[in-house]
């Protein structure tokens, strides 16, 4: 058997789940879709004493809009988000990005919240969360707290979640009128983690760009949002790309050098902004 020995609990209520986590602390690991955790267990790169499986928490299987926010419960699979007309209409950036996560076979199990909690620096959904200013709702025995996405990702594979906390819900703001969106990335093979990816939102009024949101994945230990690049993009998309190239400091690895990643960031910035602009204006190309 590939995975190391662990104890297994599969609670049926969130209350039981957070009790498990409170009792076990650092020794426990939450199992959601398992599409990142199971490979780590099979490779024995992770050796938790206890798995807390949240797949039986039916109360976290919801996906709906409320007061301008799309609420995604922790049991919601990526495939459901991909196929949801409501998501496509209300948070189209999330709908576009989720298709880049692995393959259908992975998305059938993988969850949105699991991808956020795993916090792979090249993963798509953390980039969407940071670009949109998503809110993460976490629960422990002590209560519930809300963490803004920009404070949630603290390092490579590391989040602000405490060991006794469970990420129960991600909230994405509904796109207001006038905003366009785009998620673009470059990978070696379809379904791979991004060498570099960009999540973009562009607000256009009277054919002029008024506001921009940009987040980069694969370009640092966490998704990166740079206000300077966003401000530059309001004036000039190409200059924004050059700003991104100058300000990002990605690591190089055997898949791509740091220099190549910075190059991709510059090119993808322009590509994402132009596509977002076209969508904001109903097909008009950016001058």
């Amino acid at each position: 058997m590939k995975p190391p020995v662990f104890e297994y609990c599969d609670p049926t209520t969130v209350e039981e789940a957070v009790d498990c986590l409170a009792e076990r602390g650092e020794a426990a690991k939450v199992l959601a879709g398992g599409q990142s955790l199971l490979p780590l267990l099979n490779l024995r790169l992770a050796r938790p004493d206890c798995l807390v499986d949240i797949n039986r928490l039916d109360e976290l299987d919801y996906l709906h809009e409320e007061a301008g926010w799309l609420r995604v419960g922790a049991r919601v699979r990526q495939r459901r988000v991909e196929e949801s007309e409501e998501v496509a209409r209300r948070v189209p950036l999330l709908a576009e990005a989720v298709r880049y996560v692995g393959h259908p076979q992975i998305r059938n199990r993988g969850t949105v919240c699991g991808s956020l909690a795993h916090a792979d620096p090249a993963a798509e959904l953390p980039g969407v969360a940071v670009a949109l200013g998503a809110r993460l709702l976490v629960r422990s025995r002590l209560g519930t707290r809300e963490i803004p996405a920009e404070q949630f990702f603290t390092g490579q594979l590391t989040t602000a979640l405490r060991p006794d906390e469970l990420l129960v819900e991600a909230q994405f703001p509904v796109f207001p009128a006038g905003w366009g969106w785009a998620f673009v990335e470059v990978t070696n093979r379809h379904g791979d983690y991004a060498l570099c990816g960009v999540a973009a939102g562009v607000y256009v009024e009277d054919r002029r760009v008024r506001d921009v949101r940009l987040a980069y994945v694969g370009a640092g230990p966490t998704p990166v949002r740079l206000r300077e690049v966003e401000l530059a993009a309001v004036e000039d998309f190409r200059v924004a790309g050059e700003e991104a190239r100058a300000r990002l400091s990605p690591d190089g690895d055997l898949h791509a050098s740091a220099e190549f990643r910075r190059h991709l960031a510059a090119v993808l910035t322009g590509r994402a902004l132009r596509r977002a602009f076209e969508r904001a204006t109903g097909g008009e190309p950016h001058a």
């Binding site: 020995v5 798995l51 393959h103």
Partner: protein, 162 residues
Amino acid sequence: MREPTRTVQLLVNGRTHTVTVPVRKTLADTLREDLGLTGTHLGCEQGVCGACTVLLDGQPVRSCLLLAVQAAGHEVTTVEALGTPDRLHPLQQAFWEHHGLQCGFCTPGILISLVAFLRERPSPTREEIREALAGNLCRCTGYQNIVRAAEAAAAWMREPGR
């Protein structure tokens, strides 16, 4: 640590099996070792190659990334349920006729992925078939014939009366 085990009922290919397994045992290993269903193959065991793909409640998933205990209460379908040597599933027949397999190691996962895909998209384009197969690696690199076989099977399965 003592090895924790659990006794679960698994519904596989329409039959209920009661097995006692270590909780850390993957569904893939359980199918092969406890139920003798060795049609499900294990390549990478980290979710990349797709050889171990099975249907869970009708949807393709990696059985190497699922614990056997997690499959309790769900319906599992493996390649053994597709056809018999005397009466091949249209996909199996098409793979046979179009030389859609060389060593055959990746084939069970590809067949299972395609069964689910063609149910959702009975008339796919070649491009869509290629994308549907992106999560299944063939180390013989026999992709051209796999795509041809998938096209032929789709056409056959669309015929009236089938």
